[in-house]
Symmetry: C3
Subunit: 327 residues, 3 copies
């Protein structure tokens, strides 16, 4: 694993020299299609860029003069900000389109919107869309790179990559690491992308939640299923708590927040039964007192804010690789 | 027609040297007041900037350190993005004000809002407003340049300029070119600006639509009127299909979308009756199946995406000329 | 008072050399905690930066590579634009989060939102919040500087600083200057911050308004109270008209706009009774015909637009000092 990104921020190109591997993909739409080697290359590139964020001047000129279009057909504050800052650290310009008030609301198709923005000469797309598969449908129809920033219930590859990056950073490897993913597995693109990536890198995954939220077919992805958080506490190195999306309660998938929390919430009592250095993770934004209590969220096992920090480096890496990795 | 914009993007000023003509206007509020020579100068300057968009680093330092304020009292995604990217390619910073949630909603007059932003030291305004004439009212009251990005049913000069640029690019000239503009002529600022510009450059214009949408008084602008698209198909070099604004159906100006589309929509059957190299244009966003069918929109005669690309160059030219053309 | 900010905009650091004083604060949350010396230092630094705004290229590299996060949990167009442009003139990048559609609406606490953005590696926060005291609560919980851009009915320090800067610019001193603040004193963070700052610099303050809007306890802040604007017209050097927030009329604090305006609105008749060079100020956006008539707002005594211009310099100074003043 190399670590470069030169210290002179001004004129150096700061192309990371992970030179054993050549990136060949135009797009990053999901972890499903990536090889283990490609995932590791993204993580290594992210590690190269990590150092940029510790500088006084947090910029490298790698994408100077390039334009990254952030097309958020579905709203997201933190993912948008993370990509925006990642682009900015690479010296790219960004242009933002939100689902609300966009041409889409004037009856334009998503494809026409994307092709129009492409015709304006942008160099990469970051696309969030409420429809599963939207980035896949678009990727062959436009010539510039597409990065999936979350599509429906399908994939959220950069979130999984930053989760995996954080585990590797803390534990040194993914090989043989046991990861629990807790919550609404059925509807979670974060869970799907995590399972795909973790399995490829040799980790073991157990998904945990009530039967209504954990489809038994998920075992086909190579993970174990448990309906009891208490049962697996002392068997895992990482517990990744998914965000509860309260709008789903109306659909009777959840009995009540209180019951969910008492069965599947992380608290100090449960933490005491975990392995000593267990990592507590959460993709955010957290509902304090629901998925986890404040003492756990802010405690020494939590790496929630570290995930956010790592997200920048991972997104810099992905933006860099799809834009310039093939050069 | 000169073509410069130097190839070194870094320190050269890249002022286009269309040196036979000196731009004298502070503002671009409409094509009505421009001479043919001024319009040609904008087109030539746009052609100079076209090359910038093909570079790896798509930036020239022409407006470095300048601030362009985008005041969109009326919403627009694509025009806003086009101006924002055009400013960015000239190395200008942008600041954006949307009609929603702005001071205007606190009871402030448009003039006060604009004067306030001027007092913040911005260097140019791009203004879209739902009221016809708003930019004209403002232009003598502020000292910095104003570019009209669409005002009510009045003018949308940069849209017309990019349409005309595209025709000149494809056909080599405007002189004697016959252009049909099809749709809701009565309420269209795009139609008005196109007619004004096309006539000044020697083109012939025929406006086409149902009698409710084509006022007979429009002949005073020097164009012919037809209520039948089929009648003029083989008589024109360009067909510019206006966007149908569905909210107008409620006002009984349209019988029904289906009827409109059957009479005034472009499809492969109608295209077959056109001149062989007829240009099919549309200002976007398009309603597929209404103004034109997908095979026409995506077919070889369509230059809809080329219009979008050219919009960048035209807006770079306009921003450049009002900001620095008088130097 | 030094005046530097070097004339070469490119590579000079343009750190103002007000070298008698060393800024020590991480945050600017209110004028309450500032000493007179600190306030004067901000004003002097602003004066140093004032010159930047008159340049052709209005940028200095002071905060190049830094990121300023604008977190507007409460909407504001002009304050947001002013900070955004101030950051841009210091070559900082900005990232914006609006209260609407943010993670806050997903149930996240303000503190979690702010800590998350901090974890993305931003260098300073500009925070507007509808709750009084929000920036104070946050300041010890995050490591990066926080600038209060208005919190509830508590403080709006940069507005007061730009008001005080404008008075000093026009009158040369604050010592002994008599300032009337007119309007809804009880609910105004602008009034509170002005009173605090003005008193510290030796000015005298009289607050003017109907008894329902001027609490008698305000005299504890060291200012006089008057319920008659006419009574004090010839006794003051400055009249700062507060914006009437119409939503308060519903709460019966105001009798009617007409009555308010007739008693507490500034007009040419009242202006004739004022001292000859009285300064008429208003934080904007103004309600013409309510707080003041157009002839007064646009007349020679008005320095309303000058306030807006000065706001840029003041905000550049504050951004600079909290980011780099301690170096």
């Amino acid at each position: 694993m190399t670590k470069k990104a030169s210290s002179s921020s001004k004129e150096t190109d700061s192309k990371p020299d992970n030179d054993k591997f050549v990136w060949t993909r135009k797009d990053l739409v999901g972890l499903d299609e990536l090889s283990a080697e490609e995932i590791v290359h993204i993580l290594d590139t992210a590690q190269s860029f990590q150092e940029v964020s510790t500088r006084s001047i947090k910029k490298v000129p790698a994408l100077r003069g390039k334009v990254v279009a952030l097309l958020f057909f579905e709203d997201s504050t933190r993912t948008r900000m993370s990509f925006e800052l990642a682009a900015s650290r690479l010296s790219a310009d960004t242009v933002f389109l939100s689902g609300k008030g966009s041409s889409t609301s004037k009856g334009e198709t998503t494809l026409d919107t994307v092709r129009n923005v492409e015709a304006m000469g942008v160099d990469a797309f970051v696309i969030r869309h409420s429809q599963s598969g939207a980035p896949h449908l678009l990727q062959d129809k436009v010539n510039v790179p597409i990065i999936n920033a979350g599509d429906g219930q399908h994939e959220h590859p950069t979130q999984a990559l930053l989760d995996i990056f954080t585990i590797r950073q803390k534990l040194g490897t993914l090989e043989g690491v046991r990861v629990a993913i807790v919550g609404d597995i059925a509807h979670s693109r974060v869970a799907r992308s995590n399972i795909l990536g973790l399995k490829k890198l040799g980790a073991e995954v157990v998904v945990v939640g009530p039967p209504t939220l954990v489809p038994s077919t998920i075992t086909a992805m190579g993970c174990e299923v448990s309906n009891s958080l208490d049962d697996i506490l002392d068997q895992v190195d990482v517990i990744n708590m998914l965000r509860i999306q309260f709008e789903r309660f109306a659909s009777n998938l959840f009995p009540s927040v209180r019951e969910y929390s008492s069965l599947f919430g992380m608290n100090s009592k449960r933490l005491a039964k975990c392995r000593k250095n267990v990592l507590i993770m959460h993709p955010g934004p957290i509902n304090r007192g629901v998925e986890l209590t404040s003492d756990v969220a802010d405690g020494p096992n939590s790496c929630i804010l570290q995930q956010v920090t790592n997200g920048l480096a991972v997104r810099m890496a992905v933006l860099y690789l799809v834009s310039r990795g093939r050069e």
